[in-house]
């Protein structure tokens, strides 16, 4: 089951660049939340703060509090642990080219010491089914390499890989932006199915996509969160003028 995410006064820097300023936010459990905004507004940085990937950059800095469920992820937990519990899917699919489909999905599990063949088989099958890829690859799990799939399939493989380690949150950073429309709609259907089991945060450039999949939407601008409300309200009757300008296409 998913958990809620509470963000309190989050600030982030890349070197001297104050990328995120005083973000305050409550992301509801078992829902899909979309984050929209023009390029460079900090939405990618924001999600990377949730799974503590932001700090892997040597010039990056974070201040503030992020709570996943009851857990303060910066004070009370180690990055390695958090990254297992918060899965991430990237903009460009990045399956491991030297591994088979099976090994790709099992990668995270093997890291954590899972060696029982039967347990692995089960989890791999379940994850691939949850990412709507099972039927397409079930006969070639160990023969085909992760990189030999099509773009859309690769992304679903990455989703399966993330789901295999049983996260509570799934972060998706523009997951369909590198894909064709058919694959995109498949991913969007997937999000619909997944959100009952996980808390999903999806960064997207595509406002129609946000409207299609997310119950809540947050609008980011210049490192600040301008407005956070139900998707319906954001797109039909935003409270902030800047949100309205962005929605109607005046900029971005």
């Amino acid at each position: 089951m998913g958990v809620g995410i509470e963000v309190i006064n989050l600030n982030a820097w890349y070197g001297t660049n104050h990328t995120l300023q005083d973000i305050n936010l409550n992301i509801p459990a078992n829902h899909a939340t979309a984050l929209i905004g023009p390029s460079g507004c900090g939405k990618s940085t924001f999600v990377r703060c949730i799974n503590r990937m932001h700090e892997t950059n040597p010039i990056a800095r974070v201040k503030g509090t992020v709570r996943i469920g009851d857990l303060d992820i910066y004070e009370d937990a180690k990055p390695v642990e958090i990254r297992r519990r918060v899965g991430m899917v990237f903009q460009r699919p990045n399956p491991f080219p030297t591994m088979s489909i099976y090994d790709n999905v099992a990668a995270g599990l093997k890291l954590n010491g899972f060696s029982n063949r039967r347990a692995l088989d089960e989890i791999v099958e379940k994850s691939l089914k949850n990412s709507a890829l099972w039927d397409e690859v079930k006969d070639e799990l160990k023969k085909k390499s992760g990189a030999s799939l099509s773009g859309g399939q690769q992304q679903r493989l990455c989703i399966a890989r993330a789901l295999a380690v049983d996260p509570e949150v799934l972060l998706m950073d523009e997951p369909a932006s590198a894909l064709d429309p058919v694959s995109t709609s498949k991913i969007e259907d997937l999000i619909f199915q997944l959100k009952s089991k996980y808390t999903i945060v999806i960064v997207t450039h595509n406002m129609q996509q946000a409207a299609r999949v997310a119950e809540k939407t947050g609008f980011f601008l210049n490192g600040r969160m301008v407005e956070f409300d139900s998707t319906h309200k954001i797109f039909t009757n935003p409270s902030d003028k800047r949100t309205e300008d962005y929605i109607t296409g005046r900029f971005g």
């Binding site: 642990e81 297992r84 519990r85 890291l111 954590n112 010491g113 509570e168």
Partner: protein
């Protein structure tokens, strides 16, 4: 949170992570140590033996103290001059061909592969080949044969660096030259080469520094010479060769000279390498944007 099944291995994984980090640091230390040790020892031993006589005198007969390696320094200079006159023109021309005219062709790939083969030939084998090609027919050892051997060894390095540097010249520069109505080969020579010249020169310096320390190809081509010689047709002394001969000799005096020679050689090479690094890291193509 059902994280318990994941928590069990977490401690072990952390320990392994720290262990690997330590191993990597140890490996680094083990690599740096002999390097530093060699340099310190060289400076210590070499500096105490280095004096003016080293640079001005030729070796004295065994048993007489003193003497120097002036003939070896001169000999190296002559050999390297000859080598450069062979290696640089052929190498640069080869590089120009690979970068400008033959780009992508099968012939160019063959040339590049051949240059790599030449690069991989052990220097002692080069000596054997040159002995067969030049020394044997001429029936005597000579500075000329040594210079040729070294020159051939310079070709691959110069060729490769020239090609790389020319490829780094932005296309815009070439197009500007062509737009001025200059026929292709002239535009290459005058503009592209000039733009890439700092890089090309450093490539030559790199090749120069590499062959300056080569001993094996000289053992039976230039042979070495205890006396002062400037003739290309006679055997000639060379710094690395002299160092070798003195190092394996049983005489302390000669050992001293070997250390001094080694110090001089290493200083020259360190200077060349540092210069190369400085030029390439500063951005070779300053005027290219």
């Amino acid at each position: 949170m059902k994280s318990d099944q994941f928590k069990t291995r977490s401690k072990v994984r952390t320990i392994i992570d720290h262990l690997v980090t330590s191993l990597a640091v140890i490996a680094t230390a083990l690599v740096v140590t002999p390097l530093v040790a060699i340099f310190i020892y060289l400076v210590y031993k070499g500096a105490s033996s280095l004096n003016l006589a080293f640079f001005t005198q030729v070796p004295k007969p065994v048993g007489e103290p003193g003497g120097g390696m002036a003939n070896a320094i001169l000999g190296s200079g002559i050999l390297l001059g000859l080598a450069s006159s062979i290696g640089v023109p052929i190498g640069i021309s080869g590089g120009i061909y690979l970068a400008e005219f033959g780009r992508g062709t099968k012939l160019a790939n063959a040339v590049r592969f051949t240059a790599d083969v030449l690069n991989g030939v052990p220097s002692i084998v080069m000596g054997v080949a040159i002995y067969a090609l030049i020394v044997n027919p001429q029936k005597h050892y000579s500075a000329f044969s040594g210079g040729v051997a070294l020159g051939i060894m310079m070709i691959p390095t110069v060729c490769r660096t020239t090609e790389e540097m020319l490829l780094m010249v932005p296309h815009a520069v070439r197009e500007a030259a062509l737009g001025l109505g200059v026929p292709n080969w002239r535009s290459v020579l005058s503009i592209t080469l000039k733009t890439a010249s700092p890089g090309v020169i450093t490539g030559c310096m790199l090749a120069f520094a590499r062959v300056a320390g080569e001993t094996a190809p000289l053992i039976f081509t230039a042979l070495g010479n205890q006396f002062w010689s400037t003739s290309l047709n006679q055997p000639i002394a060379a710094l690395p060769l002299q160092i070798y001969v003195y190092a394996i000799s049983p005489y302390d005096d000669w050992h001293r000279l070997a250390w001094a020679g080694a110090l001089v050689l290493i200083i020259l090479i360190v200077l060349a390498v540092s210069l190369v690094r400085y030029v390439t890291s500063r951005g070779v193509l300053k005027g290219a944007s």
